[in-house]
């Protein structure tokens, strides 16, 4: 059975993803000073230019820091499932681009460490009454790179 899925917001990551359109976060790059932003920013926070181009961000990075969410956040704005499962969040450094805050697929802080290699994925962070899974971006521990 195939569940219906939809992204939590348009323009946040490539959708739908497939072989011709791999999963990436959609950022922007300032046309005047090259500052990379996520989510895509209509106005640059460094030079105030309002000209930018879309930039697909790297799908791999390293964990800069993290924490856990062990209680259900207040609703609204949180609209995750009633049955709460603790999750983790962190900042992932995408080299040469930026540090992005995201949910992590691994909720156990003992299995996370600063400097760990991470890769982009999607998670169904909630399911609507009609069964539609709402997808958001997350980072998962990656196989350690062999260099």
């Amino acid at each position: 059975m195939t569940l219906t899925q939809k992204p939590v917001a348009p323009g946040l990551f490539t959708w739908p993803t497939g072989e011709s359109a791999p999963l990436r976060l959609i950022g922007s790059q300032c046309a005047a000073c090259d500052l990379v932003s996520f989510p895509a920013a209509p106005v640059c926070v460094r030079c105030a230019s309002d000209e930018s181009t879309e930039r697909l961000l790297a799908d791999r990075g390293t964990l800069w820091t993290y924490t856990t969410q062990d209680f259900r956040p207040p609703s609204p704005p949180y609209d995750g499932p009633r049955t709460f499962e603790p999750y983790a969040v962190g900042y992932i450094e995408l080299p040469g681009e930026l540090l992005v805050e995201a949910r992590l697929t691994e909720p156990d802080p003992d299995k996370l460490r600063i400097g760990q290699h991470m890769r982009l994925t999607l998670v169904p962070y909630t399911v609507q009454d009609d069964g539609t899974e709402v997808m958001t971006f997350a980072f998962a521990p990656a196989e350690e790179e062999t260099s």
């Binding site: 939590v8 500052l35 856990t68 969410q69 609204p76 600063i114």
Partner: protein, 382 residues
Amino acid sequence: MTEAVIIGVGLHPFGRFAGKPALDMGADAVRLALADAGVTWPQVQGGYVGSYEVANPDAIVGRLGLTGIPLRGVFNGCATAGTAVAQAARAIETGEHDLTIAIGMDKHPRGAFAADPSVAGIPSWYGQTGLFLTTHFFGMKINRYMHDHGISHETLARVASKNFRNAAGNEKAWRRTPLTPEEVLASPVLNYPLRQFMYCGPNEGAAALVLCRADQAHKYTGTPVRVRSTALRSRRLGAFEVQSPSFPVGEPVDSPTTDASREAYERAGIGPEDVDVAQLQDTDAGSEVIHMAENGLCKDGEQERLIAEGATEIGGSLPVNTDGGLLGNGEPIGASGLRQIHEIVLQLRGAAGARQIPGTPRVGYTHLYGAPGVSAVTILST
């Protein structure tokens, strides 16, 4: 330019006061401050009043006397009270007023703050997916700081334990049950590495300060406290701040706390080595540790030894949050920084009772930090 001095302080207890409006708590704090200064409301020429929950905090004049003075509402997140005192002092310094007041009050509902991210200029998905929690930032900042500077979980527990112990000796504090470091470490993790008893909670309360020109202080008090400097700074690009879906790569730039601290020391002509007692924003135990360094009071990583040695205890070389801080008092946002100054004024007068620090303290320091990356510092002296 003339100098502003504090001649009266008033503090409504912090806690839960069912049925009592914030404006009434604020009016009580004002009356205490006026009585402490030995002045009456009609002598007050103007002032600044801060609140998050009260839509028109200037409505407090309806409870104090409709004398027609300018009373301006201010709000700068958790740095609101820093803004109120800075503006009140500025009104004296520039000669606009001879006698002025700074007031803060709030009455927050129970539990963590909840709002739509749009109020902070952040898209809705950030809140829907469970990222819009300020507590995440505090957990992540101290986790990175512990990794970089060798701070232990035990040190976080010692900070919380100290602040609850200090609050136990403060009849106006909210959380007055002492907790051992072991009890703090046994409480559930809320946002790793931070546990339940390492966080402050939003609550209710009010505080007020009466200020006047330094050259007129003798008319009111023998122990004026000088406002040596105030500084307020917002986040710069590249600083790691609360409510940031992303930030640029590279070495993180200094926090607004470091920026405000540097400016405040420079304007005061006072250095960190001169500070006798400090009140630092301890939203959580990790924040107090980090803020010791960001305010220049120690080097990064020195906290581990200083806290183990008891340096930040009331009898130590650098007492921090002698009244219990935010952990012991909770945080009514508009009042929090004025509560800090109230404590410093008592300490500099030698009137802090059981929690009086030893010796003859001359310089006190207060610091606020809040969303979305704003910090306020006030340096006071005898």
